[in-house]
């Protein structure tokens, strides 16, 4: 397929322990004209999109689809033990407009800037309780398992109206889904089934006894079937858990070198851009012949927009590898772009801000318990993050 005028063909973005987020490869791809062609681990050819402008163009193109049922949709790997997601009713990240919009519109009121501000005290309480538990446990902790993972899980369970007595169950099962190193496929499938069963039971209960929570309000709209609602809730849980945890963990590592920025909202925005934990999440397929960056993409060809590559595009962000919360450019695509842009983004911002603020305020002597070079980054999954984060104070 490569000719003297054809597209450059490169290896699929190679994540290694040394470079878990392959930014130097992305920089090379951005310098090529047009788009770069690559192959999935299973040999299927796909297009890599690495420039900020092109990533935005792909994610807003009406003939480029997010629906994995379409022929040629790229499958980059394991789905982390979740049952095949395109088979779950209500899994609307895999739907295009207008089908997608019905779900999104029902959920928007739950995640407005105003509503999320109202959730801040609950987030603060959860974060304080986790810090209390860490302090009570001695002077060392694994900040991923003791803090970054439980916080978003507890926030989601509070949002959904999971009764306090059930939150440990909920938290332990969601943690199993994330632990791709220490849990087996079977354990993750079991945890997913248990969570879905629990969610279904919760929906039945909330349907009888409505409360002041997200599930009750969604039921009251009458817009979703119970089956769709349980899919939507599982999606909220999975989309908002590990991503947020990775942002909290990586953010703490960066802020340990820049502690004066903990508690400043500009740091949150910059950390979202810098770490781009969902780099490879926004997969697409062309459902007609389209042209991006002068390159024709044929109907049925898979597209992998790389969000971290766009967020380190020197055309948009000067010195992109530097942590610079004072940069005036906010156009990062850490939450994606287009109609699928992260629904929970404002909640994530609050969770990150509260987590950093409280950690550095309450544990001013916080430091890494291992050398930076020994941190275990995730390079074998879909998301960028840390497996563990040993700290002491």
């Amino acid at each position: 397929m490569t000719t003297s005028t054809g597209p450059t063909v490169v290896d699929f973005p190679l994540r290694t322990p040394e470079e878990p987020l392959p930014l130097s490869q992305y920089a090379g791809h951005r310098r090529q004209s047009g788009l770069v062609q690559s192959h999935l681990p299973n040999g299927v050819p796909i297009w890599l999109v690495t420039r900020h402008e092109d990533v935005r163009a792909v994610l807003t193109h009406p003939k480029i689809s997010a629906n994995p049922d379409n022929e040629g949709f790229p499958n980059v790997g394991e789905t982390m033990g979740v049952p095949k997601q395109d088979q779950i009713p209500g899994w609307f990240v895999g739907l295009d407009s207008p089908e997608h919009d019905r779900f999104r519109k029902v959920l928007i009121p739950e995640f407005t800037v105003r509503r999320v501000r109202e959730l801040r005290p609950a987030v603060e309480r959860i974060v304080d309780e986790r810090i209390d538990a860490m302090l009570a446990g001695g002077n060392t902790a694994d900040l991923v398992n003791d803090f970054a993972l439980p916080v978003p899980s507890l926030v989601i369970s509070s949002l959904l109206g999971v009764p306090p007595a059930d939150r440990d169950f909920f938290e332990s099962r969601t943690r199993t889904l994330v632990a791709i190193r220490s849990s087996t496929d079977e354990q993750r499938a079991t945890a997913t089934r248990q969570l879905l069963r629990y969610i279904n039971r919760l929906i039945t209960i909330k349907d009888k006894w409505r409360g002041d929570d997200l599930i009750s309000r969604l039921l009251s709209t009458g817009q979703l079937s119970h089956e769709e609602l349980s899919g939507v809730l599982l999606l909220l849980l999975i989309a908002g858990h590990e991503t947020t945890a990775n942002n909290i963990g990586l953010g703490v590592v960066t802020l340990l070198s820049h502690p004066q920025w903990a508690g400043d909202e500009r740091a949150v925005e910059e950390l979202l851009r810098l770490h781009s934990v969902a780099d490879m999440v926004a997969l697409r397929v062309a459902v007609d012949d389209v042209e991006i960056a002068g390159q024709v993409i044929r109907k049925g060809e898979g597209i992998v927009p790389l969000l971290a590559a766009a967020n380190h595009d020197t055309e948009v962000f000067g010195c992109p590898h530097a942590f610079d919360p004072e940069r005036s450019e906010r156009r990062h695509v850490a939450f994606g772009y287009g109609v699928h842009q992260c629904l929970g983004q404002n909640l994530v911002r609050v969770e990150m801000d509260v987590a950093y603020r409280k950690l550095f305020e309450r544990i001013p002597t916080l430091e890494l318990a291992v050398p930076l070079e020994e941190l275990a980054f995730k390079y074998d999954g879909i998301l960028f993050g840390l497996h563990e984060l040993p700290v002491r104070w």
């Binding site: 999104r104 009121p109 407005t112 800037v113 156009r331 109609v339 404002n346």
Partner: protein
């Protein structure tokens, strides 16, 4: 400067409210509400930024 919004296209990401809260709000359905069709000069940068950040292309800034 004049601003128009397309509430049908809006996906409620809230970027406009975060960036130009004196010009944009969200209603109870989470959909964009335009508070000022002709924003003050001091809001011009924030309004342009809101227009650019809007993921669904619901905000149009007219320079007339």
């Amino acid at each position: 400067m004049r601003v128009t919004v397309d509430s049908e296209r809006c996906v409620g990401a809230g970027q406009c409210v975060l960036n130009a809260p004196s010009v944009f709000d969200q209603d109870d359905d989470g959909v964009v509400v335009l508070l000022h069709e002709e924003p003050a000069a001091q809001d011009a940068d924030a309004v342009h930024e809101a227009g650019d950040l809007c993921p669904s292309g619901s905000i149009t800034v007219h320079e007339d």
